[in-house]
Symmetry: D2
Subunit: 344 residues, 4 copies
């Protein structure tokens, strides 16, 4: 079994990595670190792991982590930036589930994340870990910047349209809805059941950190700068992202949209293009590493609506990280990820 | 006390009317009809009404209903159309919470509702019961077509912009999210807790019955036919609608949007314009007859985003019906409607 | 209007007091204090109150509070103990929604609440504010200890049986289920939507602070010390307590249980005895000051099961506090409390 | 791969069997029947199965089913009774997830299920499929009666105590809480999100079909007839059962309870005895074939409280059925069942 490590394993992406890796046929988790929970068994913190993992959280130690083939960072931004360079130098392949290496324009990064970026060389080196776009680069990458949850759902929805230049790239509107787990396991009033259930609201409508990341990806797909309005909403459920992506067709007569999407994702194990006019439910991917997409062209007019759903903790975080790891290690890409969504 | 009647009181808008009217200072519910529940006490069906209403459901009888000053129809479409003419002839003022008289173009109505419209004269007579637009006409109306829930939230969001001609009226996108009570109390698989909770999806993305109603209202506000994409979503909560309304400003430099909205709704008791950049939560209006609105202009660019929330059963149905009744009867417009949202 | 004050108004019982008092015909909230939110408008913190209250939170000041006829404490234990004596001395009537004065045995209190009780005289003076038991004493009380939420639901279920000596008082089992708002508005991981929704568990099964309070009340009703097993459970909803109360009948043949309960609560405006064999739902009292009770005698054997539901924030806290206030001030006991449960 | 069939695959236990068997290393689903959905692809009905199963529902045909080594019945009571005899005669091993063969006293069965039992010989033959009790008999069984969900959670909680005669067997109280999926996928008003969420109530408190099944199992464990009060509650979540099981210790001084439970279940792969004083959460077993148990002895008195949680659709239905199948076929008992609970 190949040894892997997890830095910052107490949050939701950390426990989700442990769940996915518990049944992975080729790798085992050898180290999991947490400054705050040092010495605690992971199964005491997350009883669903009882019988699946014997590990305890340890204080992060680079020497110990360096014995792993791959190290995942499931940490707030700023942490991977500090520790990743050392590990990469020692030949460890690093997969950052955080935001440190997602944005290539480091001034832009600093503006949105409110701190200086101290590792421009690493940022240069980092490969954006969206396999549907960068599979080849991922194979040999030393450092992966795993995409954010909203960016995953939104890019997979828009990329086929933008790559082919079929829509007005200056007028994209992504109205996104997320479950509360996207806000993490931090004890915030806004994430309390009594605050977040039986309610729905937008947040960050005037600007959200995933905006520059999405724009970067879409700009690359379009071959020129896109104009994007991105409004995220907090919705009363644990897991799930639903992106409703609007754009204006240059030629509304074109009948090939469905085939375009099916062709674009034909070989993708984790993108499922549903029949035209379908309405994917987030629960169909709950716990699964899958993005389900469907297309609508309301009243046959010139607006195309792409609906895209993922589980923010799986295809939007831990599952995509494992997918990247599989690619990097030359394993079956679907190893450990052949999960069926939990429904009902 | 003025006597009022309710036809079709077993659904969610019916029980909500009973809740609101239980404490109304000027009216009392004298008759409530239901073919299926004839003879059953309303408090046996809805135990929250124990001690508030002694009524039993009766078989609908026009003579009995004709003794009421106002009769509410909380019925599926097609029912009010049959019974309303008789009542109106006898001088009863009718408030239809259903869809029979909302759309003035009856061919369009027939196409969306799948039946012939048999009462063109009544449809002509009917006043669209959105007090923020039609208060004067409501005062003397014999027949009110109470707006749908999505149309209420969406029109109140767009009307100030369209009345002033500030946005491109051909490119409106209303991304709407509703709680499950919008689907009614019918026993449908899709509305089961196990199907609708912990999930989110769009529905009717290619066409929904509220689309022509919204377009009619916005067209009237704009003074010319609007182009609207309307995508509703089913969200895992009981009550609440959140409309996220996108449009493109003709002049993005204009700084007067907030003032425009505040002025437009200054005298409206049931529209609350929050400070620019706010994010209204649906729970802030849970159980209350209120529409809360806020504005965003992301990154100062030319897209304006209006966020609008209501309780679909109150300002989106029963509360608005009572508001209409108050206006029609010359009562205090807020009588019985001074409700505080239930939070948490 | 009679002036009242609220100390510690930022929690859920505080905002619920504001909701209930917003429409009270006889009193107005003149002061609301919060150390942490000083200067903030209550409507900025709780947008459901926009248009209903203009108040700002102020730093607690005894002189200012002393101008009120009644002051509510919606504070953690230990706070009312410090401030109440001063207010009582100045003739203010104090209603403590917290635990400081609920338990007469102050050693017992200290053991469960982990601090010394510094006000034995006030504790002696305090009247336990369960109107169904202590209405007369409440009328003239200077200081009210408002019952806890579990104690309210459980005592109202057991009292008729114990007063009449019909059941084995040594073998009472109260299995209670609470919504998450019972844990307050504090930012605790266990109260996050992602932790508490889609799950259910017991907590404090080996001992919970409401145990001595319930035992005290039941012992008083029985006229001798009772034996009680009390297991609370956290359930995935915002509001509601369901107490399932088991006891063993001394004479299982007795047919008068239903009549006993109906008689006991015949004049109580806020206790509703449903027909034998009913199953009260917590939602039937959501937002309402009501306790609904029903009886079962499974298979006609000797175990009687009493089901009792309340809204923990209303009859279990703020509503009961207002009921106490009404009694103390000689107002109509139901003033401001004629609320219909929000259903659905 | 060994071929298995499923009769009545459209309900929640049916889709759960498909989820579990999708990744089973030794068997494949060859047939799935549904009268109402004949011809429909299972993945069209349950999109979470897209890419995992290509099957369509077929009309139930005994010849086709007879080609399977094992046939599961996920049907309402009365169905398996009719079809099972034929299959058993042809050498097919039948696992009934329904209630037809759970109760040995057929008069009792008839009384609770409201129909005559037409297959007394099959009922005689049937093995009650609780592996923790009947593993040896299961190995060679031709027909398995898979336990109900409440009975599984409750029996596993009480059995160690009753087998050792440690508690008063005449005074057992099982207060059980279930998620809504226990009510099935039928379109019933009571299971609607708007009826069942944000609420909690008991149901069937005077008598529920699982009562005689639980009593039968506990009586067998105790070696004499037990007295049991069983009150089920409907709780606002999709999956999960929490059984809170009260009994009175004959000797409260005894310190060996924890060890007793640990020893009793030491070799059980799907029963997890947590440390004394723990509070198992239903979410820790969400989607997993596991029963988590913990013990409390409140205030060191003579009442012992056993908390027991399962996922009603897994260890309470489909997972237990697969566990039985593994045992019957001589496969690894945990094959296909090594699932980690989905948390959060």
């Amino acid at each position: 079994m190949i040894k892997v490590g997890i830095v910052g394993g107490t949050g939701y992406t950390g426990v989700e990595l442990l769940r996915l890796l518990a049944n992975h046929p080729n790798v085992e988790v050898a180290v999991i670190t947490s400054r705050s929970e040092e010495g605690i068994a992971v199964a005491d913190m997350y009883p669903n792991l009882r019988g699946h993992h014997d590990l305890c959280f340890t204080f992060p130690d680079v020497d110990q982590l360096a014995e792993c083939a791959v190290v995942f960072f499931a940490t707030p931004h700023g942490v991977a930036m500090k520790m990743a360079p050392d590990l990469v130098k020692r030949g460890v392949r690093v997969i950052d589930l955080g935001a440190d290496f997602r944005i290539k324009d480091l001034d832009l990064w600093s503006r949105w994340y409110g701190m200086e970026h101290t590792e421009p060389e690493m940022a240069e080196l980092a490969v954006y870990g969206l396999p549907e776009v960068n599979r080849d680069a991922i194979r040999s990458a030393e450092l992966i910047a795993c995409p954010g949850c909203y960016p995953t759902a939104t890019q997979l929805a828009y990329i086929p349209l933008l790559e082919q230049g079929l829509v007005d790239h200056r007028r994209l509107i992504a109205d996104c809805k997320s479950g509360v787990s996207g806000a993490g396991r931090g004890a915030k009033v806004g994430s309390l059941l009594c605050e977040a259930s039986e309610s729905l609201s937008a947040y960050g409508a005037s600007g959200h950190r995933h905006l520059p990341e999405i724009k970067q990806g879409l700009t690359e797909a379009a071959g020129r700068p896109v104009g994007l309005t991105f409004v995220p909403h907090l919705t009363p459920m644990i897991r799930g992202i639903h992106a409703t992506c609007y754009s204006v067709l240059k030629d509304p007569i074109d009948q090939g949209l469905q085939q375009l999407f099916e062709r674009r994702y034909a070989d993708e194990p984790f993108v499922d293009v549903m029949p035209m006019g379908s309405h994917p439910q987030t629960r169909s991917v709950k716990g699964a590493n899958m993005c389900r997409i469907s297309l609508h062209q309301p009243q046959g007019e010139d607006v195309v609506v792409v609906l895209s759903v993922i589980d923010n903790l799986v295809k939007g975080a831990a599952g995509q990280a494992v997918q990247n790891m599989n690619i990097m290690l030359g394993l079956e890409e679907t190893a450990g990820l052949n999960l069926v969504g939990l429904m009902p």
